[in-house]
Symmetry: D2
Subunit: 367 residues, 4 copies
Amino acid sequence: MSGSILGKYFQVSTWGESHGKGIGVVVDGCPAGLPLSEEILQKYLDRRKPGQTRYSTPRKEADEVEILSGIFEGKTTGTPISMVVYNTSQRSKDYSEIAQYYRPGHADYTFDQKYGFRDYRGGGRSSGRETISRVAAGAIAEELLKELGVEVFAYTKEIGGISMDEKRALKENIGKSPLYMPDLEASEQAEILLESKMKQQDSAGGIIECVVRGLPAGVGEPVFEKLDANLAKAVMSIGAVKGVEIGDGFAAAKAFGSDNNDAFIKKQDGGIGKLTNHAGGILGGISDGSDIVLRAAVKPTPSIARGQKTVNCQGREIEIQIRGRHDPVIVPRAVVVVETMVAITVLDMLFASMTSNLNGIKKFFAK
Amino acid sequence: MSGSILGKYFQVSTWGESHGKGIGVVVDGCPAGLPLSEEILQKYLDRRKPGQTRYSTPRKEADEVEILSGIFEGKTTGTPISMVVYNTSQRSKDYSEIAQYYRPGHADYTFDQKYGFRDYRGGGRSSGRETISRVAAGAIAEELLKELGVEVFAYTKEIGGISMDEKRALKENIGKSPLYMPDLEASEQAEILLESKMKQQDSAGGIIECVVRGLPAGVGEPVFEKLDANLAKAVMSIGAVKGVEIGDGFAAAKAFGSDNNDAFIKKQDGGIGKLTNHAGGILGGISDGSDIVLRAAVKPTPSIARGQKTVNCQGREIEIQIRGRHDPVIVPRAVVVVETMVAITVLDMLFASMTSNLNGIKKFFAK
Amino acid sequence: MSGSILGKYFQVSTWGESHGKGIGVVVDGCPAGLPLSEEILQKYLDRRKPGQTRYSTPRKEADEVEILSGIFEGKTTGTPISMVVYNTSQRSKDYSEIAQYYRPGHADYTFDQKYGFRDYRGGGRSSGRETISRVAAGAIAEELLKELGVEVFAYTKEIGGISMDEKRALKENIGKSPLYMPDLEASEQAEILLESKMKQQDSAGGIIECVVRGLPAGVGEPVFEKLDANLAKAVMSIGAVKGVEIGDGFAAAKAFGSDNNDAFIKKQDGGIGKLTNHAGGILGGISDGSDIVLRAAVKPTPSIARGQKTVNCQGREIEIQIRGRHDPVIVPRAVVVVETMVAITVLDMLFASMTSNLNGIKKFFAK
Amino acid sequence: MSGSILGKYFQVSTWGESHGKGIGVVVDGCPAGLPLSEEILQKYLDRRKPGQTRYSTPRKEADEVEILSGIFEGKTTGTPISMVVYNTSQRSKDYSEIAQYYRPGHADYTFDQKYGFRDYRGGGRSSGRETISRVAAGAIAEELLKELGVEVFAYTKEIGGISMDEKRALKENIGKSPLYMPDLEASEQAEILLESKMKQQDSAGGIIECVVRGLPAGVGEPVFEKLDANLAKAVMSIGAVKGVEIGDGFAAAKAFGSDNNDAFIKKQDGGIGKLTNHAGGILGGISDGSDIVLRAAVKPTPSIARGQKTVNCQGREIEIQIRGRHDPVIVPRAVVVVETMVAITVLDMLFASMTSNLNGIKKFFAK
């Protein structure tokens, strides 16, 4: 099968392993005429690059993206855009130990069961470095959405149980927090927690929230290709994500209809809006013109320095200690991954919505 | 676009509106040789049929399924299986009122924005009756999985905040509870809550849990086509679902690595297992041989008898009172929908996994 | 797998066997707002209905189409359109003989090899009746294309080696010939040939030509999703088709560059055109604004009354005589099948072309 | 849309322009465990490399392939295989002239119409160099098929009207002819013709034949995903191909049923075979165990040195003379392209056939 290709109109095809020659992605279906350069892409990639703060792995990875095709005279040509980040700083360390056992919380065992063997160097294909491809492709989607008046942004909502306070959260604070948390007080508390977890050779998880603003109503298809269904897939496909919710999400399961329904109202500009947004901007799988709001639950980093029990490849129970430089929390670096995966999905469905009704198509083809 | 088709190998193509001639589905990609009949399918459909208990709409709907193709001498032929449930009991009531405004929590407004107009009779395509197609198709998937030793079952975990107690929950109780709740004490409490909500002309939501047992390790593709990603899409595509989580899900976001990692162990039969199952049976997007555990958050029924504020199609603010017979909670009837959507997804990915490694393929084609 | 679903944007999902309950199709992805009725569809279906002339099987088949979903107040709603033709006149004859052996030129043997058994009644899924689904779905595509100024028409070019003379061919003659041949002289000669073949208990094949007129330049994708590639697939997927060519086709293989290249010219309206059309309206997989011209080679009907050698299901060599009422030539009835398959393909790629460049997309979403 | 991705199970995603940084391809869905190296791939690529004989462009292109991912310890890992051929010898010549007009027989005009502008250097994305990706990906498919006992080979059947004589054709001669023609006498005659065409600054086309041997019966899906339908798409998607036929192809349109039907026979090994193979190994879209035989019509190279009429981008009629080093015939270099495209398609459908019946699936998953 082909598990590394996503999308129907804006198609993203990724490749690469942690310790192979590089990580890359081909974007097929990007319209012609979008201004694009390595500089534009690099800004997105730098947001997931390790070593930016003390709460991410101190590994130095340049992660410089190179565009190999699909651009001519500074603009996309409409043909596939191939991008690559060559692996440059992977230490040629000894992986013979890690090859012999199955790390808890990792895909070592399942890869062996599926394929018969695995590229065990640094996680191989299931390494977090795989998300480089997602961010590079999603950066293009996000740039395209901007051209169409749609903004996508994400931030850390919670780390290790420490949650931001909506009242203190400010969008402009996101970049000021080393954890990409828009509530700087909560960010500081989370930092303290992380320090303590690092000392305990442990790790934390958290919640990322993503907002899509400016998306017109009518995007998303009823039944299986609902906008929320595709968002859930895209975000759940990110390595450490274990849950996804839209709008009130799991809280809606505890609410009652009279509270959970969003009343439609007449907006000041005369258009139709909603008094509240429990639905997270999606009704019946279709965008309703309000902000799309989505949250992803990220599990704690499975690689911890503390001793752990597991089995080796022969099935014998052993105790291991994972060496190496690992993130005490991957949430902050995953913020841009969630954001770009959402952008890819929203763009794909925006394109899909162009053939929803005959009037729109007729106008498009009218000379 | 084509939002009503799901799957890559086992493809499900659905159609039908609440008040049209019927609701149907075509299953393409079902292997030849599976014993199948209308009786087998009907058992699944009866689990979502309304009017079974006082907590579902008293509408009488026979919902009898008819197979139109793909079966010969009691077995599937390998060609498309077309199934239909004709709409027989839809009251020919007056829909002129509902046609004029947008019901809160429904897809009326988004359909109009997307398509320019809508079939307003009883929700049209976005009616809950659409799930008949899912259950009919998923019943086939579930029967196929049984033949391969894989069991899928679902139940109500929580209603209106009243949650089952794991210690009291018994699988054999599921069918004994009118709410499909395996903890009969919690079920009774939830019934009391529902009675009170019905009196208040209000509605409740809840959480459905689904378990896949017996799935071999190695199913699911790394990167985008992760087993959990596809499960999230399938389940989130069900009308009222607002959140999906795998294993510990959102709780994992609050946990620390030392607790959340599942230690691998040597099982009594000599195989490899896990001491705990926080991961919900999926590592790196691939099944690990443990139970797959998934939860869906279901919002409260948006149709409530209580007065509500909204706008009409001209954008004028009005107050409405939705008449008709509506479910005070849809969770119990949605249990089989979640279960069958999970079955469709697991089967599709099981098929996908057949080409994971050359050894398996060679054996398959060896004479 | 799912061999009965075609298309990416305008998706067609077919089902049904020759002697089952009916033949049907679900169209998913038809935009909202197209006027559609059973009367409109029936006109297309009547063109493939048997028993219209003495050169088709004298079987009486009403082949009346019924629309089950997707239409509201005379227009498509944007949701799936389910259509069915119930089988009414299939004789309940004895198929026990045909079940025992493999008819030459038919799919009996390959079905048994693939599926382990087969629905042997009248060809089952591989019956020519399967094309009813194609015509019903393609009729919708053709109606949509008309709304966008694109015309598709097909006709018989050759039967049993008797070819039409381009100079004598008139579009308005197509309907006047019982063979749908626009050159009435050639049509008469072909009729004489068919009479003689019928006496000899033999059958003939022929060539169908299809033209797409009014398609704007720019439709079709470079590389794999070329317009001609998708046309070739769609037309080759019709039961008896053994070859497809575009423009000069196989004749181009014998031509030289200086003759085969079409010079671009300035048209009288100031636009760019071509002096000749050896390319058949497609350059680099993309429409160039000229007529798209395609030809399909149709093999002679394999069911002939004459004695034939074959083997039975046990592999013993036997001599058989196929009874029943068969078409001496299927070309005339296949004309509308080719035409509608071309329409489905062209429409799908027309939709695809809407996201080719950013300027077009921006205009579409501008308020 | 995404016109550069092909396949459902074995997915091929290509990128690159004639004069960009390189040409590449990602193969997703290759099973784990196939021995693979750059040396193996290079043998296939060398067959399409220019400059091998005087009948291809004298441009020197190293076309050395590099594998970037998906291989570990000499074997495929089951994850995406990324391959690239960097463009090294593209002359940095002046393309300002070619940018101003539309070459007859090329995609210049259609690209401009579709995308608004084009990368005009050497044909950009629609250059023949795009086929490098096809050959690299198809080489993997062909190697996989070999492991499963399936052989694919192709050769030149005809050039400029000079056709090989079946009686003189020997498979082992293919490599001995500079034109890959298995009849060395016809090859010599074709060479003489080409010499004369080169002097006349003209070009020739031809026919390529491809055979698939050893494919088990039962591969290919009825209805739309017929084996022949997918072969037609794959081969027609190659730049200069204008026609595709299976078995007797267009000749079948002139034949009669009594001749065209292939009688089934009992083979010496006791199995079922066919006396003749007019059908080209496919019945009802499904392989019948005989050789699959396919032919592709290749148009003459559109780039000829002779003066030609055309229009410039402003629509003014002009006369041009295309400079540069062009192939007088591309048929010989396209042989391996047809062969590998056939291999990709056959492999994809072989995988699809693994879920045709429940017995096979049960055996696969039995422990």
